[in-house]
């Protein structure tokens, strides 16, 4: 009898635990999906529908909001700036980050642990703290209000991730493959280009895309360091008060969609970054 009660109780606990689990998952999904859904509805509705009340829960598939957005002065330039800065960030963070990731994964050197910690620590300083001295320095060197200057700052933000992702990618490639290549007539460099590079290229792409998204989403440095050459985020922030509601929605949508698509495409490698095995 006591056995039966114990079994019954544990089954009960398990059942309620399961409900709690499902409810939590549903809540978290709603937390993320509902705002994005509203963003979608309002972007695909006519400006009149966006400003009226009550709101509809199904999109009208009216593209006049997006058309208005595209026609808004400075918007397309800002979009172009965003893409340019993000591309520069992407290239620079890989060129700097991937060799660091390789070194971390393949060599033993004094201070390796400290180096890894420092890489993470670069994310510990809030950007506003750095923005003022950076702005002063950029003005002195003439880098202020340029896409390259902003890309430099974004690269700094993206490098820790580039290093960590590439580190885990390189660690996933057995050193024996490189050693085999060396014994088969490769130098360190040719072994890298002929064996390691083809194997990590998909992961490098993922890491690059992640850097792109970091730059694409970044608003604070963009707002502080640029005036004429605003990126889309900074431009929208600047015009937030004055612009009509449907413009904000359309801008938000344009910002969210690429980031979402890219992150979805590279999710496998982001798991790898946190040490969750993906093969």
């Amino acid at each position: 009898m006591t056995d039966a009660t114990a079994v019954g109780m544990s089954a009960d606990t398990r059942k309620s635990g399961r409900y709690l689990y499902i409810a939590s998952v549903a809540f978290l999904c709603a937390w993320v999906i509902v705002p994005i859904y509203f963003l979608l509805i309002n972007t695909l509705s006519s400006p009149e529908a966006v400003n009226s009340f009550p709101k509809s829960f199904v999109p009208e598939f009216d593209f006049s909001s997006l058309q208005f957005f595209a026609g808004f002065e400075g918007m397309l330039t800002a979009l172009k700036n965003s893409v340019i800065v993000a591309l520069m960030t992407m290239v620079m963070s890989i060129i700097i980050g991937a060799p660091a990731g390789y070194a971390l994964s393949r060599f033993e050197f004094p201070g390796k642990g400290l180096f890894r910690l420092l890489i993470l620590l670069t994310r510990a300083f809030p950007l506003p703290l750095l923005a003022l001295p950076l702005a002063v320095m950029f003005i002195q060197t003439g880098l202020d209000d340029t896409a390259f200057g902003l890309a430099l700052v974004h690269t700094t933000l993206a490098i820790p991730f580039a290093v960590l992702i590439t580190f885990s990618l390189f660690s996933g490639i057995p050193i024996e493959l490189e050693e085999a290549a060396w014994t088969l007539g490769c130098t360190r460099l040719t072994a890298f280009t002929k064996v390691v590079l083809p194997l990590i290229l998909p992961g490098i792409t993922a890491s690059a895309i992640f850097a792109f998204v970091i730059s694409w989403n970044e608003v604070f440095a963009a707002a502080v360091l640029t005036i004429e050459n605003r990126t889309l985020t900074a431009f929208l922030l600047q015009n937030l008060d004055t612009s009509p509601l449907h413009l904000k929605f359309a801008g938000g949508f344009i910002l969210v969609v690429p980031a979402l698509i890219f992150i979805f495409a590279v999710r496998k490698y982001l798991f790898a970054m946190w040490g969750i095995a993906n093969r």
């Binding site: 057995p174 024996e176 493959l177 050693e179 085999a180 290549a181 060396w182 014994t183 088969l184 007539g185 490769c186 130098t187 040719t190 002929k194 064996v195 083809p198 194997l199």
Partner: protein, 347 residues
């Protein structure tokens, strides 16, 4: 001609001495096996010869040329790795031809050589596949074929069969031995498996704690171990040891019995005999049977002589029960003697 000479090679990792002053000469076309437990330095020695590891001191010569300062690609070696190291992004054909492509050989020669070694390793039908589509045994064949395609002076193998299952290992063992004998390359083969070592080697170097304890033919290593370590490492079950006390010139007393032994003035020796070199007789060592294991081909009896554990292999028809007393006579020409202080063999 690719004779390998290892001269005074030592390697330390920080304070840890992995290899102490290794000296070894391997003849042209010889099949040398480095045998030892894990951590004995056998892989380190192989990697130093390959150039994947740098010796702390000493020299390595191949074919009369000093090569320890050269990078792996310039040493005339090819290596087979324990986990195969087949490149996953290339087909079997391109894997085998990888080294030849690096040498920029013309296409038709690459094709011809790849097809020849693929035939040798019986993997002609796999040439278009990728490593992910191969079994462990097939990957191992690709790895060996890739090394052979280089037509190296020396082929180095680091536990190449240890990831295969037992049956496949036995099959590959025989095949590898045949292929390597035919290719006329000098081979160094690292393993911890004594059966592999005994069955393949021309000569075995038994390694222990960074030293080569004995380098000799398999049968010599088995019959005449140079040290107690070799005697207790090789053979399954290993040699039996009993303490012996002097009983006059060239005579030694072992468990109440007198045997002819070496004529030395040592205060004591160790008497050693292989389990299969004993037979029940009227006079001999008196042992109490403890555990009886019928193994089919023979009977393994673990018994006790005085305080020492003692194993004998008897004919499978022998009837022995635990607790029974056996009188065992050692085959006199198979008895060996070790000095308990130096642990070395005494003739």
């Amino acid at each position: 001609m690719a004779e390998i000479q290892i001269k005074n090679v030592a390697k330390s990792f920080g304070a840890y001495q992995a290899l102490n002053n290794i000296n070894l000469t391997i003849a042209d076309q010889e099949f040398m096996v480095l045998l030892g437990a894990s951590g004995c330095g056998k892989s380190t020695l192989l990697r130093i010869i390959a150039g994947l590891e740098t010796a702390t001191s000493g020299e390595v010569w191949i074919g009369g040329k000093r090569i320890d300062h050269l990078s792996p690609k310039d040493r005339g070696i090819a290596m087979v790795f324990q986990n195969y190291a087949v490149f996953p992004h290339l087909t079997v054909f391109e894997n085998i031809g990888f080294g030849l492509r690096m040498q920029k050989l013309p296409n038709d020669e690459v094709t011809q050589r790849v097809e020849r070694v693929a035939g040798l390793m019986h993997i002609e039908m796999l040439l278009k596949r990728y490593s992910g589509e191969l079994s462990g045994g097939q990957r191992q064949r690709v790895a060996v074929a890739r090394a052979l395609a280089m037509e190296p002076d020396v082929i180095l193998m680091d536990e190449p069969l240890s990831n295969l299952d037992a049956l496949l290992r036995m099959e590959m063992r025989a095949e590898l031995k045949g292929v390597l004998a035919e290719s006329k390359t000098t081979a160094i083969y690292v393993t911890h498996d004594q059966v592999e070592a005994m069955s393949m080697a021309d000569r075995i170097s038994v390694m222990h704690e960074g030293n080569i304890v004995q380098a000799a033919s398999p049968i010599e290593v088995y019959r005449d171990p140079a040290a107690k370590f070799v005697a207790s490492f090789i053979g399954n079950p290993p040699m039996n040891f009993l303490p012996a006390t002097p009983a006059g010139a060239g005579k030694w007393q072992v468990s109440g019995q007198t045997f002819d032994g070496p004529n030395t003035d040592k205060a004591g020796l160790q008497f050693a005999i292989r389990p299969e070199d004993m037979a029940p007789a009227e006079h001999g060592l008196v042992a109490t049977a403890k555990i009886v294991e019928p193994l089919g081909a023979h009977l393994l009896v673990t018994c006790q002589i005085d305080e020492a554990q003692f194993r004998v292999i008897l004919d499978s028809d022998t009837v022995v029960k635990p607790g029974q007393t056996l009188t065992l006579a050692p085959q006199s020409d198979r008895v060996r003697w070790f000095d308990p202080e130096t642990t070395l063999a005494v003739a």
